[in-house]
Amino acid sequence: MKRWLCILSLVCSATFAADVWVNEAGQIEARGVEVRVFRGDATEPLFGSVVKTRESVCFAAALPLVSGETYRVDFQTAEGAWSTERLKFTNPATAAPTVSISPFPTVLPANALKLYLHFSQPMEQGVFLERITLQRQDGSVVHGAFRETELWSPDGKRLTLWLHPGRQKTGVNLNLDEGPVLQEGRQHTLKIAANWRSTTGVALGKETAFTLAAGVVDHTCPNPQRWQITAPKTGTHDQLLVSFDEPLDPAILVSALKVKRGEGEVAGVVTVASDARTWLFTPVVAWTPGACVLEIDPLLEDLAGNNLLGPFEVDRDAPLKAAAATTLSFEVGG
């Protein structure tokens, strides 16, 4: 029911013929004994169920009717005659969606695995490979640059864009046959097509280009011993700042660090800087003096997929390294 009411709010400017209308339940209702609904000039009708009342017949579509579409309603009167009416569902006045990239500026190791696109609205799915293009510095297109699996956040606004692991992994056949996606020391351009639509059917409207700079490959695990902590002062709501020596995965960072005092977790709001080099924590309650511990999820990754437990790619000829520490201490003082 909620879904239908939502649709109704979108179609307030639709024009309805006297014999056909959208009822309070969001169903198409017609004066008659039989009804079939078609999208535009389609020859096959919409899926849905039909319920007859004494004077009219109601059609409930299996999926919500869509704004911007025209529907043809064929209905049969009690006398047996068939008539046709059209319903035009106007587009709501929705602003065009926008897109940003994370991390930004996008300086990646040459063996980077993923980056994130953030949209201001939920976007249509199933088309990302046609809507995103990666170009090299000379303007040539990198074909097969991305992993085909489409990974959206639950709200449909964030796309995890995997650079094709088969090409980014050292020594895998695609890496040898096609070469890596990113060229070390070069700039690349990620283009997002203008015709990518939000779920309400409004397109981005203009092409968006992001510059990706590729640095050297990174096979080293993140090491918290190289991070810098700027401790807050007692009695303030100052931010706790943790600065990293390299950009870390911005999405994992959001939930990977926790501030502990004793056994308890300090409540606060987390922000990750756009370049993914700084993690900021604002406490709900003013800081009190004493020792705190920053607890780190060992699955926290850098941009090349190396985590605290080990590198993404293990060189089996190299000696094993000890896992990195997963806690850092700091003191809240005067």
């Binding site: 899926f47 990974l151 939000s198």
Partner: protein, 370 residues
């Protein structure tokens, strides 16, 4: 309406599979997203719903008899489905196809653009498409465990196996896989066990890297119960899942390598006329195929390969398909009927249902298995 008639027919059969669901809900089910469909016994449909990190089990009531085998190919079935969803042909994606083994009826999970709405439709023997009317059907939804250690945002596959349901999932942010098991009877709010599943793709016997599970089947052998999974880029590996505590990490053993640059889409097993068992792997190749007209293709692998135990036959020593030949080594061969297939499922030990894409036009047919 035909859909209504079908639902009444199905509703009358409800109750036959009552033991599979405990205290199910009736009506009110809305599928928010779907990534995979699969059938258990007696018409029990399993739907992977990534938006809620859940598995939804639906008693379709479509419990047989086996009379719904597609009689003849359906050309341009995409147009029929798109019209029913109120969309243009290019604005639908068939997310998955599953054949109900009880009836032979074909079920498709469809997503519409731009609103990403999903619908399950089915195709009967006459080739007509009808929506699955969820209103009269009993169902349960099991949300997979959350939390850092097992967070999952993409459910890659789901399958029924005797006394439990398996699901595989990956996380948006990490290149790793989870295997979930849910006890049967299925009930709302049931707790799934979760294993962290890792397999390693070894290149040049030097670099080990992680790979996520794309598709899987449960597999019983003398050694116990396994999940046999196909991975991106593309080893077929098995995970022993007997006697594993929830939260454990399971390391897979690679058994077969199909060649680089393959993205597995579907797996199923069958026995040929001689009784020999085969595993069919349907995949999408990165580059044009050397032996067929499409990047979409499939191979069958003798199940004997899955029983290999010796280290000299597994992991970096696993059998590797000869990419320069249509067959070879012995027991690994291309299945010609799968060229161009975008979705595949087993219909019987002699036939599979194939959804084929020919330059943007989808057709549905029954193809003979070799």
């Amino acid at each position: 309406m035909k859909a209504l008639c079908l639902s009444l027919l199905l509703a009358s059969a409800l109750g036959a599979s009552a033991a599979l669901l405990e205290s199910p809900q009736k009506g009110g089910l809305q599928i928010q997203s779907l990534s995979s469909l699969s059938f258990g016994p007696e018409g029990l449909l399993l739907v992977a719903e990534p938006a809620t990190a859940s598995v939804v089990a639906i008693q379709t009531g479509d419990a047989g008899p086996k009379s719904e085998r597609l009689a003849k190919p359906v050309a341009d079935i995409g147009a029929q489905i798109a019209a029913g969803l109120g969309a243009k042909k290019e604005d639908i994606t068939i997310k998955d196809l599953a054949v109900n083994p009880a009836s032979g009826r074909i079920y498709l999970g469809v997503q519409r653009r731009p609103d990403n709405a999903v619908l399950i439709v089915s195709v009967g023997a006459d080739g007509k498409v009808a929506p699955l009317n969820l209103a009269p059907l009993a169902w349960v939804r099991i949300t997979l465990p959350g939390g850092t250690a097992s967070k999952v945002t993409n459910i890659t596959d789901v399958a029924f196996d005797k006394d439990r349901v398996f699901a595989t999932g990956t996380c948006n942010e990490e290149f790793a896989s989870r295997i979930f098991t849910i006890p049967v009877p299925l009930k709302n709010g049931a707790t799934a066990s979760v294993f962290s599943a890792e397999t390693y793709h070894v290149a040049h016997r030097k670099w080990e890297t992680k790979a996520p599970i794309q598709s899987f089947i449960p597999y019983q052998s003398k050694e116990g119960t396994f999940v046999v999974g196909a991975f991106a880029c593309t080893p077929v590996a098995k995970f022993k899942v007997d006697d594993i505590q929830s939260g454990a990490q399971v390391k897979g053993v690679s058994m077969v390598e199909l060649g680089s640059g393959n993205r597995p889409l579907d797996l199923f097993s069958y026995s040929d006329k001689s009784g020999k068992e085969w595993l069919v792997v349907h995949t999408q190749r990165f580059k044009q195929n050397a032996f067929g007209p499409s990047k979409m293709w499939g191979a069958r692998i003798s199940m004997d390969y899955l029983d290999a135990k010796a280290p000299e036959k597994t992991n970096e020593n696993a059998a590797r398909r000869d990419e320069k030949e249509p067959k070879g080594p012995e027991g690994i061969e291309i299945v010609d009927a799968l060229f161009g297939a975008v979705q595949v499922d087993k219909l019987s030990d002699t036939e599979a249902v194939v959804l084929r894409d020919t330059e943007g036009t989808l057709s549905l047919e029954v193809a003979a298995l070799p």
